[in-house]
Amino acid sequence: MGIIELKNVSFDYESDNTLSRGVKNLSLTIEKGSFVVLLGHNGSGKSTLAKLLNGFLLPGEGDVFINGINTKEKERIFEIRTKVGLVFQNPDNQMVASIIEDDLAFGPENLGVPRDEIIKRVDWALDAVKMSEYRSGTPYKLSGGQKQRIAIAAILAMLPEILILDEATAMLDPRGRAEVMETAKRLNKENKMTVIHITHYMDEAIDADEVIVLNDGEIAIQGSPEFVFGHPEIIKEAGLELPTATKVAGLLREKGFDIPLVLRDEELAEAVCQLR
């Protein structure tokens, strides 16, 4: 059993005014320690899925299990939210305090963690996102990428096992996105954190252990990055674009050249030179 299990989960929004739809009969297993990227266009159901994973939303049908605990168990909801950390899209709207270390302490304070322990966690979390020098500062002057790293640290202070980034890079500039991706990957590799990264940027899926593409509330395709990007028709139908290298390789194949499936620029360059 994976650390996250979804069994035939469905969720519908009551007012179907907006494009944001729910999920339909979704079944999914996420293995502990994996780096999963969830791709989908806006309205594909990815945000709904994120909220189902930490109990903000309860499935209309089916069950969501986090480490064996069903999210419907009301008495254990805080246990679940401690295990599953959720970082949102807007860097500003996640911070409650004007001083960074106070903001990081907020989660543990809510859980009644003893003060010495809170101090240790704040230190560790800041170090984990490489923002220790900013501990006594204010978030106001930070860049978007730095703010999101603080948001991640604030979640880390609750010692989660799973980190869900709900389009956490959507509002950032390229540098900010790189910072957040680098932090997430490091946490996954070094701290063995299970990471679920929800995004619509293809580049961010290339190094994933597993890619899941959502479309219209259902899983359109899932598997390794190579497998998923090897199905351009499904990608296109899901409203997404292929990585540039993959696109160019596909075009060259159409012209009759023997280029294998590639994801990265370097791989394409390598493959082209092989043909000479």
């Binding site: 805080f78 939210r81 996640q94 004007s98 989660g107 304070e109 809510n110 009644g112 003060r115 609750m158």
Partner: protein
């Protein structure tokens, strides 16, 4: 516009007063206000002035910044003084008489009394905001209010509300700037026209601002839930406030001030006397 605002007028410095516990400062300010209202003799204002000079020196805030606060209320002070001079009744030593208007010595003294009271009140409370960051103030207030928990006042929730408000003020100010620019680019005019026209002109700024504030609140609520707000009533506290020797010194000095004022009151006219003659 927003770049110039130092919220709460906080003046950063490494001073005695800056290092005092915010709770002590809050209590002392309240006691100070009471002291100022206790004053019955103009002589007492000398004692208060001495106290304030000591406080300003101890805060290392430039006198200019302190006096800026007085500049703000100067108009009110002068207006109050003038009104008091003309409408004071019960004076005996008439200085000047013209038609129905009578100006007495007592009236002048009373006006001076009121003016000084206003000025000293403002200076004293301004020193508080000059030497204490807003966060520090809310921490202090939360701590002072905590006994109210016993009568079910949601002290912690109030403290979080204050903290979030402080956190978002600069963000919202910046947002107002942005919205104003966007509407100006569409031809909105915030400068010309009478009061009503200008008030109406602000709608294209206020409405998006409100909507935005509510949207932020929505998202923030999710973040609070994600961080297990209200998971347990047994919250712990990361930042601890500790009283120190400076706070004791502050209490002693203020106690001396109050004693001095009381003594002056008693010696001149008996404890329950009523006069402000010189």
């Amino acid at each position: 516009m927003s770049r110039d605002i130092t919220f709460g007028q906080f003046y950063p410095a490494n001073s005695f007063v800056h290092k005092m516990d915010p709770r002590a400062k809050l209590v002392l300010v309240i006691a100070y206000i009471v002291a100022v209202f206790l004053v019955k003799s103009l002589y007492s204002y000398i004692a208060i002035a001495v106290f304030l000079i000591a406080a300003v020196l101890g805060s290392r805030v430039p006198v200019k910044s302190v006096l800026k606060s007085v500049r703000g209320i100067l108009v009110i002070v002068i207006l109050t003084a003038i009104l008091n001079i003309f409408f004071f009744s019960g004076g005996e030593r008439v200085l000047f008489s013209w038609w129905k208007i009578k100006i007495t010595v007592e009236a002048l003294l009373f006006a001076l009394h009121m003016a000084l009271r206003l000025i000293f009140l403002v200076i004293g409370t301004t020193l508080l905001t000059l030497t204490t960051t807003p966060i520090n103030l809310t921490d202090g207030m939360e701590s002072l209010m905590s006994p109210l928990k016993l009568i079910k006042v949601p002290v912690h929730d109030l403290a979080i509300i204050m903290s979030i408000a402080l956190r978002f003020i600069p963000i919202l100010i910046e947002e107002v700037d942005k919205i104003m620019l966007a509407q100006k680019a569409r031809g909105a005019d915030f400068e010309s026209g009478g009061l009503i026209k200008r008030a109406k002109a602000l709608l294209p700024v206020l409405i998006p601002l409100f909507i935005s504030a509510f949207r932020r609140a929505d998202e923030l609520a999710l973040a609070l839930d994600a961080r297990c707000y209200n998971a347990t009533p047994k919250r712990t506290k990361y930042k601890v406030l500790k009283l120190g020797w400076r706070d004791a010194v502050g209490v002693i000095i203020l106690a001396i001030l109050i004693a001095a004022i009381a003594a002056v009151n008693a010696s001149f006219w008996g404890l329950f006397g009523f006069s402000f003659g010189v």
